[in-house]
């Protein structure tokens, strides 16, 4: 039976991710909260959720010495980033006056705020259900293109490499709401809070062999 590690590196709502995975996983699947590098090294697949501020999250990853284990895992096992767990995979985030991140993907995380005109009706945080325009990937199986997922964020990911974009969303401006390469799939929205489509995506991840 497989082991799934949920990496704990922020004050995030890990319980919801844990609940959702447990409701989907086959009996006997070991789903554990990973607080140490060894927990990540031993797992068959990694879920990397997170919320809160970028500086705090990167600090926690470094203090807990999880950064290297996370980067290693992302090279050779199925890896799902969620929300802040997507943003810290980039090189750099504009949040908190600028934070260097893990750099698994080239590009930056940028604020919506400078793009929002007053009176435009766009509220920040981007909070609620938006569509994702899919780029073919095994994790989209059985999820109709343009399905809505639940978002809540004030910064968006701007990858430099077009090839890395696995999903696009339009709010304030068109942005990369999903990025992927090799065994890594990372999304801004919360599959654990996105009802049926979110659960389908998590089920696909639990069954994914990491190939594209």
């Amino acid at each position: 039976m497989q082991t799934v590690a949920i990496v704990d590196f922020s004050f995030g709502n890990l319980r919801s991710v844990h609940n959702a995975l447990r409701s989907l996983a086959e009996p006997g699947t070991d789903i554990r909260i990973a607080t140490e590098p060894a927990d990540i090294e031993q797992a068959d697949r990694i879920v990397f959720p997170g919320q809160g501020a970028a500086r705090h999250c990167m600090l926690a990853l470094r203090q807990k010495r999880l950064a290297d284990a996370v980067l290693n895992a992302a090279q050779n096992r199925p890896f799902l980033g969620i929300c802040m767990g997507m943003q810290v995979l980039m090189e750099y985030s504009e949040e908190n006056d600028g934070v260097d991140c893990l750099g698994l993907f080239s590009g930056r995380v940028q604020a919506f705020a400078p793009h929002v005109e007053r009176g435009s009706g766009f509220k920040i945080p981007h909070m609620g259900w938006s569509r994702i325009e899919q780029t073919p990937h095994p994790l989209w199986e059985n999820i109709p293109d343009q399905s809505r997922f639940y978002f809540v964020h004030s910064y968006y990911t701007a990858p430099r490499d077009e090839e890395a974009i696995a999903g696009r969303t339009d709010y304030v401006l068109p942005f990369a709401s999903v990025i992927a390469k090799d065994r890594v799939f990372a999304m801004q929205s919360h599959p654990e809070k996105s009802g049926e489509h979110g659960l389908t995506l998590l089920r696909n991840f639990l069954n994914w062999d990491g190939q594209c």
Binding site: F11, N13, R15, S16, N19, A20, S23, Q51, G52, A53, V116, R118, G119, G121, F122, K123, I124, P125, H126, M127, G128, W129, S130, R131, R148, Y150, V152, H153, S154, T169, D170, Y171, E192, K193, S194, G195, G198, L199
Partner: protein, 257 residues
């Protein structure tokens, strides 16, 4: 704009049980929050809000257990409000599976609490609930004050200025209830809702007064609300959430169907 307007059913809970008579004919236990939340999820609710009206401190643990039980089976955002006074209260609820917490009186008593809470858990988790009531003479332009104690006590604080202050302190969303309309079924206070939506850059949830589906439409199109919250019209199965969404879509509003 690509973002769906949200419909949020609100449930009053006391000691971990849903009260104020939710009447689903085919639900065996009308007080079971898990069963009711699951039903709303199936109907297409975009979020669910629980308002904890538990009086005693001791029974608040049962609210936490209720959140845990709901979060194990319902995979859409959950908000819990009522009686939240400390960052520890917030942490406990978020760890139980809530996604957001609503802060009302504690923000009025101590605005710094909102800043502290937002700094700790992030503004996306902090909903500031505002109970507003119109004040001033009828021939003046309308003004609204914040009222506490269930609408009985005027704080003398202007609701719009207060909301802007709360945004600056780290609120991620405003839950706006009109005390003039709450329970009347006459529709939202649209002037108040519009003034609030224009005053802040964070999302506004309109609440108080919904009696039919046109009221939900008006809250969005005239009031400019990002989300609409209602209780009784859904609890008594006058309308399902699915019907509400169909109606909103027919009126040109983007919803998640």
């Amino acid at each position: 704009m690509g973002l769906a307007k949200r419909i949020i059913p609100c449930l009053d809970v006391d000691g971990g049980r849903v009260v104020k008579g939710v009447k689903f004919v085919d639900i065996r236990d009308a007080g079971d929050p898990v069963e009711i939340a699951r039903r709303y999820d199936q109907e297409g609710a975009d979020e669910i809000t629980f308002l904890d009206i538990t009086a005693s401190h001791h029974d608040r643990d049962t609210t936490v257990h209720m959140v845990e039980a709901v979060a194990e089976q319902v995979f859409i955002p959950l908000t819990v409000g009522g009686g939240i006074r400390t960052v520890e209260n917030i942490r406990t609820l978020l760890c139980a599976g809530a996604d957001k917490v609503g802060i009302n009186t504690a923000a009025v008593t101590n605005p710094e609490f909102v800043r502290e809470a937002s700094d700790t858990v992030g503004n996306q988790c902090i909903v500031v609930a505002i109970d507003a009531k119109q004040v001033g003479a009828l021939d003046e332009p309308p003004r609204w004050d914040i009222f506490t104690h269930g609408g009985r006590k005027d704080t003398g604080i202007d609701a719009l200025e207060w909301a802007q202050k709360m945004e600056a302190y780290g609120a991620g969303e405003i839950l706006l209830t009109s005390m003039d309309r709450d329970g009347t079924r006459e529709g939202f206070d649209l002037e108040l809702t519009r003034a609030m939506s224009d005053a802040v850059g964070i999302p506004v949830i309109a609440s108080g007064g919904v009696g039919n589906l046109q009221h939900l439409v008006d809250g969005v199109t005239e009031g400019g609300a990002d989300a609409v919250l209602a209780a009784s019209i859904f609890h008594f199965q006058e309308y399902t959430i699915g019907e509400a969404k169909q109606y909103m879509q027919q009126n040109g509003i983007e919803v998640r169907l």
